[in-house]
Amino acid sequence: MVVVLFAIMIFPLAYSFIISLQDFELTRIGQQTFIGADNYIKLFHNKSYWTAMRNTIVFVLLAVSLEVVLGFCLALMLHNKATFLRGFFRSTLLTPMFITPIAVGLMFRFMLNSQLGVIPIALKSIGIEVDWFSPQLALISIAIIDVWQWTPFMLLLLLAGLESLPEEPFEAAIVDGARGWKMIRYVTLPLMRPIILAALVIRMLDAFKVYEYVYAITRGGPGESTETIQYYIYRTGFIYFRAGEAAAMSYTLIVVITILVAILFYVLRGEAQEK
């Protein structure tokens, strides 16, 4: 069975690597030629590729940092047993992470549209005019959409973390007179450090895949302001049909992802060993 698991991953990966060494265009399959590392060298001089990488990193950092802060606050509230309707809030606030991202993208495109969107029109009626998909704001808007959909996932991970913490340090801290902020700052946060780190890496890995919002809303524009790496690979490979180049780009992405996964793996393993 492990064999099946590997066959389904290793073969496409190896095949992808071979494609990345070829001058391979989807419009003329069967006429590819071996060109060695040319596709990779081309990438270094490709401005759009670097723009896409930069946009993706800005997007990931912006979205994930907002998600971890909001997720942690909500997790603290939902962890508190005194909270009103705790179970109800818990299951309803988690719903966005279960729906298809293309629907989320389109719902927000609809609500933020400057001609018929409810949010810009409501803002206009109190005198604020914002074009959410202007070159300056578009990437931020997309990050906000990501925050709407994925803060629930962060909340879920952090809530589970809070529930797995031992009770003794908290009891000891109460005896020492710690309350409120002090408790969070000096007891909860240090204990949660590995869990927060794991949650951050998991979300970053996921956020690197951002594609549907871009596809649904901006298609990379205006200009190249929301061109993300996954969308750029899609475009290179399937709109311009340059499969070789797209495969090479995807291999550079694997390097980034592997480093992040290695960090995650060591964090998770450290957790398991402590128990």
């Binding site: 069975m1 492990v2 099946v4 698991l5 590997f6 389904i8 991953m9 496409p12 990966l13 095949y15 992808s16 494609i19 399959i29 509230m77 508190n80 005194a82 909270t83 009103f84 299951s91 606030l93 988690l94 992470m97 279960f98 729906i99 298809t100 991202p101 293309i102 389109l106 719902m107 609809f110 609500m111 018929l116 029109i121 009626s125 879920l156 991970l157 589970a160 529930e163 797995s164 996921d206 895949k209 594609y211 596809y215 649904a216 690979i233 490979g237 399937f238 495969a247 780009m249 995807s250 992405l253 694997i254 992802i257 996964v261 290695a262 793996f265 998770l268 393993r269 957790e271 398991a272």
Partner: protein, 274 residues
């Protein structure tokens, strides 16, 4: 400030924040549902709530390709889940009991599920092209297996870890073979895990658009691809799009209530005990 008063303020503040969060989460659902009952003129005046509700959008969506696309999504989802559970449960059992492949194998399982689809799409597209399944739901099934099978495997490791080894050993003493012990003792014990992994996998398969967009075509398109088609450069059908979105998200929100409880234990891959 007295301790009591402080507690009172905290609880009022918490309730307020949670109610505002609930509003933020539900407003898009509510707004989309509302738009699905509006005609084009009403959609152009978002703040005017005196429109007459209409069913035209729903009728148009039902008579268009949407039911077929939903069926395609369901077929892709069920086949993917079936294969993933069959293969994934055995793989997870092997990881959990015999530590097959050591931590390198576990690491690559985790890596496999985290790989961005952009990495695999070019080879998968060409493989589907050469095997002539391009454009059909089967190409979508294969592509979904690439991320769902590792996830299901990873998910189940924790559940298998929780089954006491003594149970199996007792069964073997009573004359069961390895396989019999697995099927009669261990698998029934991880049934909640299998159920949760299966439902979660169904949600992920149903929600995928990237692979489905590039690998399916014509009448074989899945629901998310169909929804994306309502807002293109060629034209916008906002009301119909809203109705289609509601159809796509409501079943998943409903399923989510059954999965949430088990999600954490699964996603930790045996490291986080929820």
């Amino acid at each position: 400030m007295s301790h009591r008063l402080r507690k009172r303020i905290t609880s009022v503040f918490t309730s307020l924040v949670l109610i505002v969060s609930l509003f933020i989460v539900f407003f898009p659902y509510f707004w989309t549902l509302l738009a699905s009952f509006k005609d084009a003129a009403a959609i152009n005046h978002p703040l005017d709530f005196s429109f007459t509700p209409t069913l035209v959008n729903w009728q148009a969506v039902i008579s268009a390709g949407i039911p077929r696309q939903a069926l395609n999504s369901l077929i892709v989802g069920l086949v993917t889940v079936g294969i993933s559970l069959a293969v994934g449960s055995l793989a997870a059992y092997a990881f959990s009991r015999f530590n097959v492949g050591g931590s390198a194998a576990r690491f690559s399982t985790l890596l496999a599920q985290m790989l961005p689809p952009a990495v695999l799409i070019v080879p998968l597209f060409l493989m589907a092209y050469y095997t002539k399944i391009i454009g059909s739901v089967w190409a979508a099934v294969i592509s979904h297996l690439t991320f769902i099978l590792p996830l299901v495997t990873w998910f189940l490791i924790g559940f298998f870890d929780d089954v006491p080894r003594e149970l199996e050993e007792a069964a073997k003493v009573d004359g069961c073979t390895n396989w019999q012990a697995l099927f009669k003792i261990v698998l029934p014990a991880v049934r909640p895990g299998l159920g949760a992994a299966g439902l979660f996998a169904l949600v992920l398969s149903w929600n995928d658009m990237f692979y489905a967009l590039l690998l399916t075509s014509g009448t074989q398109r899945t629901l998310p691809v169909g929804i994306a088609g309502y807002w293109t450069f060629r034209g916008v059908e906002m009301g119909q799009m809203s109705a289609a979105i509601i159809l796509a998200i409501v079943p998943m929100i409903f399923l989510s209530f059954f999965v949430q409880r088990f999600l954490l234990r699964g996603l930790g891959g045996g490291a986080i005990k929820g």
